[in-house]
Amino acid sequence: MRESAPLLDVVGVSMRFGGIVALKDVSFSLAPEKICGLIGPNGAGKTTLFNCLSRLYDVSEGSITFAGTSLLGLHRHDIARLGIARTFQNVALFNEMSVLENVMVGAHGLGRAGFVAAALRRRAERDEEKLILARAESLIEEFGLNAIAHRAVGQLPFGTRKRVEMARALAMNPRLLLLDEPAAGLNHEEVEGLIAEIRAIRDRRKVAVLLVEHHMNLVMRVSDQVVALNFGRVIADGTPAHVQADAQVLKAYLGDEAA
């Protein structure tokens, strides 16, 4: 099924919080430039998996390899430079900063200048700053945020903040984009727009997407591959059609509804 070497390889990952087992022996891999839906009932461990990929959590067991590099020896702040970007389920923006500044922080890794270069405003620092500003401005243009570029993000509506977060995540030109419930709070029309947008992001930027979403219609339409989690375990992994028809997946969701 997989033609090319995987971009992301998750092998036997378990994550425990005290007595709670949030992830249990999770394995799957994701090819470059593919969109992979990650589904599962509430508390299945989807966000926990994202947090393991971002190095916010130390996995209890297993290994995670990205483009041939093991993530587990890296710091949190190394992940962005390596090419993994993300959004957060509850939106994690810098509220006192403007939209433009938020996206510029997303491009942090494009520069290297430290305190001294900044204090003295060295030539190299100014050039970097221009690069970062240009990148941020082009993303703001692309996401149609021009009119609010200089507004503090804290004042913006939830849906807009989610867009800002997506623009910020793309500022480093990642090879893997992790989206945690991008459709939350969107109406029917906006979900249609989001589907087109996710596809466009993949096609234009050659980025792989790992998409956590409860909105089944969206996941099944946009994904090349779907991984289903339940109680921290992978219960299905395959094409959308395959996963949709999977008995365990049906049971997990029906069971969830019945409860």
Binding site: R76, N95, M97, L100, E101, H108, L120, R121, I148
Partner: protein, 370 residues
Amino acid sequence: MSAIAGIKPQAASVPQRKFGRAPAFAAALIAGILLAFNASGYHLFQYAQVLIYMIALIGLNLLTGFNGSISLGHGAFFAIGGYGAAILMAHLGVAWWLTLPIMAFICFGAGFGFGMPALRLEGLYLALATFALAITMPGILNYKHFDAYTGGTSGLQVDKPKVPLHLPLNQDQWLFLCCLAAAMLMLFIAQNLVASRVGRAMVALRDHPIAAQTMGVNSAMVKATCFGVAALYAGVAGALDAALVGFVAPDSYSVFLSLSLLVGMVVGGLGSLWGMLAGAIFIEFVPNLADSFSDMFGESAKALPWAVYGVFLIAILLLAPHGIAGAVQRVVAFVRGLMAKASPNLTPELPAISAGNQPAEQNHRTTQGS
């Protein structure tokens, strides 16, 4: 319109390049030079002290206002700067101006070294750790085995800097102008920092540390460096202070100094760099003002100055919850709003205003480091 009113003084760090800030600096320099040739020697001494506090406050604000870490021990670095400079001058014969970069360097190291482990603590715990630093400092300066260097309880006397090159200035004018130059330079550097990549990283760490790290910001490094920079500012201020006063003693660096700096920063406005001038004026003059105020009640009220000080402080915090800088900014926005209403020939621009873009941007840029 609402966009203008809604912008908080903390929302800062859009790149403020080109000559956006030249007018403010020019005005400050002209005002300073006018003062130098018109104020009395005693007043110039006080104004120089204001500029010195301003330097320390700018550093503290980089740490607290921009990076979100609290320090109740900033006076300790002021003390290191002061004593270090005095020892260099008195025992090693180092020129006073040379003590500034030396103490800047040493205090950066001390701040970074203290910050690296201490910044693992957060909130109240960090406050306590820095408070411990402030409490320890006078004791160290008093420690009798250091007496040979520090002069013990009686302190250390140094020669005040002389006017060089037969400049047509008296000593007070010369010292004031040196402090003015130093304050403007340190302000300029702080503005550069704030409007840079590391400046944005500092604010991002304050607003959402996890998200900032996920964007590639090295939290431990940026925070410790920021602590070092804050200490550097305090060290430079302390060294200048030693030269200005010509004397250092443990009593000058009590816990109260650290607390005063915290007060000055909040009164001036968290996240506002020019606002630190207002905060410094508060630190320098309000205690005296409180003194003379309570003198009106005769000798019966010995503790009254502090009560008056407290009342002043509460009044300012109530009237200007975002500090004096925040209040000034609101007045400016209000006046702009009035002017926009008053001049009907501006109406063609109004659609742009309600779209929220241009004016918010302008406002934002002036906010930035103002």
